[in-house]
Amino acid sequence: MKKFLNDPVNFVNEMLEGIYRAHPEVTYVADDKRCMVAANRKPGKVGIATGGGSGHLPLFLGYVGDGMLDGVAVGGVFQSPSAEQMYQVTKAIDQGAGVLYIYGNYTGDIINFDMAAELADLDGIQVKQVVGNDDVASSVVGEEHKRRGVAGIFFVYKAAGAAAAEGASLDEVTRLADKARLRTRTMGVALSSCVVPEIGHATFSIGEDEMEIGMGIHGEPGISRKKLAPADAVVDEMMDRIFAEQDYKSGDEVAVLINGLGGTPLEELYILFRRVSLLLEERGVKTRHVWIGEFATSMEMAGASISILHLDAELDRLIGAAGNTPFFKHIPA
């Protein structure tokens, strides 16, 4: 294991200490560093919380700030935070307008967020939930409720965060988050494994010339493992699956996220985007917004994912709105 760390047991807490030292815009509640909230409350605004395992930076911690989220609870590496932690975050960020949970479709997270919502309900805090399930590779059409949530959740945060910042109600923020969720599809491909610090060896093994299409961000099995193909061919295969589920006509608009899983150089992500952009262009689809970089990682895993949000007018406005968090800044043109 080649990592910059001290005792693996302290990996998450030391990372968190680094974050709080670097970013005074965020702080924590309940005397628990794993319960992060924005340093400033926005009275009357719908609160948005997320959470999940550590090891995915900038997910989840990185998106707390203006125009995005208000709080987040994180667990150990690839482990859910507890219901109690989520509940503490919920209490801290509620401004009387209710709280929306946005998180990925993983059993551990669901069970804990459900429990937290019940606890919050006892306090009279209204909680709604939107569970990201953008990973096309993780289940077939018709079984979308079984799909995992991956990088596409960024678009759900962005839409919901902008709506809440505009002063929308909990119902309205939830509606928009859910619309962004339903219109987002992601396909991923992994080239190498990651190493969980407390485990110390690769989560899975993969041949020196192999890739796995559709692998999950914790190393869950994908659709197919085969010889690494040229970048354009890899993109074509991924986009085929996405296009099969999104019905485009000429003139339609999209937002694109090319996400590195942690170990893949930015240069390669731009090579992938080049092809994505060509394929969209061929169909007369206009790319209105694009982000390329690391948005949801798996530690040092080499690989990438492509997320496409099929926009409509209101999503276009929300996705393009300003955002300012420790890890994500967007300045509208």
Binding site: T107, G108, I111, N112, M115, G216, H218, G219
Partner: protein
């Protein structure tokens, strides 16, 4: 023994703690086959924490309070799928035994029925989905029958354990529908479910304790 008292319950948590410490590596490798290898870690952690918490609380707290402490402690220590589900189970069992002074056959039936219902509600799985629920359901049913027919606690727990073991064996032929294992689909056939294995361990240790 015919009734598990509050002081017995504290020792039963000690027994569970020892058991899950022993089975740590086995559960790690079982969960590793079609999951993320954390089950041995989370179960040994959460039962150790629960055992310490109930010992610290002491028998004067009574059955219900001890179970609540155990459940709340587990939820905090190991918020994985199984950690939270077992925590939920103990919290519901605590509610079901609110007025009980000890656990005889009738109370054991209430305990496990509430445990099963809590896990079912929280996890939203159905029997046959290849989860912990597949052993909790026969345990609860078997204990309800035993209570209705007036069986002794030892006998009742023995029957429930056998039912659980059979059900665990039956999970081998099922395809996982939930959690990380679901991604492995057909590859899960032939393997016994990891969470269900934990369920069998819990009831088995309870049987041995009451024997």
């Amino acid at each position: 023994m015919n009734t598990i008292t509050a002081s017995d319950l504290i020792r039963l948590f000690e027994a569970w703690k020892t058991l899950f410490a022993e089975e740590r590596e086995f559960l790690i490798s079982l969960d590793g086959k079609v999951g993320d290898s954390d089950l041995g870690i989370t179960m040994s952690k959460s039962f150790a924490a629960a055992a310490e918490a109930v010992t610290a609380e002491g028998e004067a707290a009574g059955i219900a309070k001890l179970l609540r402490t155990a459940g709340a402690t587990m939820a905090r220590t190991a918020p994985s799928t199984m950690g939270t589900l077992t925590a939920t189970g103990f919290l519901r069992a605590s509610k079901a035994l609110e007025t009980a002074d000890g656990i005889g056959t009738a109370e054991a039936a209430k305990f496990w029925t509430a445990f099963r219902d809590g896990v079912a509600e929280r996890g939203k799985a159905k029997v046959g989905d290849k989860t912990l629920l597949d052993v909790l359901d026969p345990i609860a049913r078997s204990l309800e029958e035993a209570a209705a027919s007036g069986k002794s606690l030892g006998e009742a727990l023995a029957l429930a354990t056998t039912a659980a073991e059979d059900a665990l064996e039956a999970t081998k032929s099922l395809v996982a529908q939930h959690g990380k294992a679901a991604a492995f689909q057909e590859k899960t056939v032939g393997l016994q479910d990891a969470g269900a294995t934990v369920g069998v361990f819990i009831i088995r240790a309870m049987r041995d304790f009451a024997a």
